[in-house]
Symmetry: C2
Subunit: 351 residues, 2 copies
């Protein structure tokens, strides 16, 4: 039977996630905030980082591997920096707190860099980069990925993760430019999707332990992801991992816990966010109008054969967000069934 | 006749560059500083960004396209940010000033972001990222490249440059980890080198206007460089270009002047540097010892067939620096001849 998606209104999805979290003892305020960010991941088209992850988060909460009402503590603080200990809380709550703090500081100092440790998976990177962009700031977010899928360049031991970066820049008449990328050619979620669909992966996504192309996604556990640009992507993953992990006293390298396989061990996930106040460099109205001009310049430039349009990072995100705001979020029937079984287990109303 | 390299002591090279600049009216202090940074580019193995560029810089100075004794002006300033107008000075001098200012600010605020406009080519990116790393800080440097060689993804108009990023992290017993990468698969200098050597380029470096692989480096002007990771590298180049260019009121997109082809027009080159004080997050001794552990963890991990060792970014740079400090900098005979002709024209002692 085909996996027909059900179109779920965004508000319904948010309310569902909130009642699941509340049933696990999360406060009303935390549950609303966490649900808002998770449902937003689905709204913007980041299907692998939204409600899809809820059963896994709940499993971790029930196994004692995540504190639903963790208290955050500022471990170090300067005028333009802070290090937050997330107390093993949900990454969304930790990084929302960190991002708000970075924005508050940047309003005075011009820029702020806030790191976090003892956090957890926080959903798609763009959530946190986009927050400053809504207030005439530029946002940058980097995380240590929640499982290692990549060796150093030339190696076979998976010491590195996809360590993503997101950067968001506001405009006036166009969507914000939002880059949200893994440092690997393919994110691990794309490998899982290929396996589910019975598809072959293109060469260049993964290699096996002998360095040969691995194209059968069912053999993914025998190989590893490849970095973008070979040693360059390895360098980016390594350094982003150190900045988001090691510098904050968070896990990196062999310390990283595979949160897909293990729901009990504290992950000590690290992230950082930078907020840069546009006003400290330029008139925000002028800057945003410059970004509009860049949209125009790129999109109107001549194209290669076979390309219908030139896209800017964030364009597809904006289109999907509008579609799903109007028509609802497509949840595959299998996912819907999993979520409603979860609801039953938690004793809350289904979707 | 083969192009045997002459081994030139680093100090001799620095003194030579300084006297060339002095002969063009540059002050003693500026000439020493600029020569120190340019000779350092050769010392660390960045041959395409060191003394090799001197004739081009001098041509620009003589054509009135660069002010040897430009006054720098702080256009905007906050506790943790500044925007510097470089007055069309040499990029090395502008960015040395910007980096020192960023470090000074970061000592108090924890982090600082200093942008520059009306600057020029500043040599290799790692020069400026490495400065904070010598003082228990982390350095990040990004520039708008000085000529466009890449279209947006799917396009054919070269609106983007290689826009490099460098990030440097200090350690105790190992060299600093220093990433210094273009956002293209190959830097344009590598294309020129392939042409000089009569070599073919591998597929993946460049494509032509029909989207077909371009492997003959003599046809480079008919095609363009490819970004790392396809649309990901395009996104990085676009966003780094906006942050280093547009945000600072510097050139981006169609405004970028090809400084190889045009020595007269003001380039309005933009860059930015971030200094992050390690002490604002961790004990620097502990952090640097953590970086040593990461060196050890990566280098001792098992290898793919065909790899003799696993390298860290900055490892080769440190090896070359040591070799060249001991034995001198290899300058090809053709380059030496060009430099000594330049010396004759300027009326200064040759190398």
């Amino acid at each position: 039977m085909p996996d027909f998606p059900a179109l779920t209104p965004h508000d319904d999805l948010r309310a569902f996630i909130a009642r699941c979290f509340r049933s696990c003892g999360m406060t009303e305020t935390n549950a609303e905030q966490a649900a808002g960010l998770m449902a937003r991941a689905d709204l913007i088209g980041q299907d692998g980082h939204g409600v899809f992850r809820l059963p896994q988060y709940i499993r971790r909460i029930q196994a004692g591997g995540l504190d639903v009402n963790a208290q955050f503590r500022t471990v170090e603080e300067r005028a333009a920096t802070a290090l937050i200990d997330g107390g093993n809380g949900l990454g969304h709550l930790v990084m929302n707190h960190a991002t708000q703090l970075a924005m508050e500081k940047a309003r005075t100092t011009g820029v702020a860099w806030v790191g976090a440790r003892h956090s957890n998976h926080a959903g798609p990177a763009s959530l946190y980069a986009a927050m400053p962009a809504e207030e005439d700031m530029i946002g940058i977010y980097v995380a240590v990925g929640s499982a290692n899928h990549m060796p150093p360049w030339g190696g076979t031991e998976m010491l590195l993760s996809t360590n993503p970066i997101s950067i968001a820049l506001p405009s006036t008449n166009n969507p914000p430019i939002i880059l949200d990328m893994a440092t690997t050619v393919a994110a691990y979620g794309k490998v899982k999707t290929a396996a589910q669909r019975g598809e072959t992966m293109p060469e260049g996504w993964m290699i096996d332990k002998n360095g040969q192309p691995l194209t059968d996604p069912n053999r993914a556990s025998e190989g590893f992801l490849l970095p973008i640009g070979g040693p360059k992507g390895y360098g980016l993953s390594l350094i982003f991992g150190i900045l988001a992990g090691t510098l904050n006293g968070a896990a990196f390298g062999r310390e990283v816990v595979d949160f897909n396989a293990d729901s009990e061990t504290t992950t000590n996930t690290g992230h950082f966010v930078i907020a840069l106040d546009i006003k400290a460099f330029a008139d925000p109205a002028q800057f945003k109008s410059d970004i509009d001009k860049i949209w125009q310049e790129m999109k109107s430039s001549p194209r290669l054969p076979g390309f219908d349009s030139i896209r800017l990072p964030g364009e597809r995100l904006a289109q999907v967000t509008q579609e799903r705001s109007e028509h609802g979020i497509p949840l595959p029937a299998t996912l819907l069934a999993v979520l409603n079984t979860l609801a039953q287990d938690l004793g809350v109303a289904p979707l």
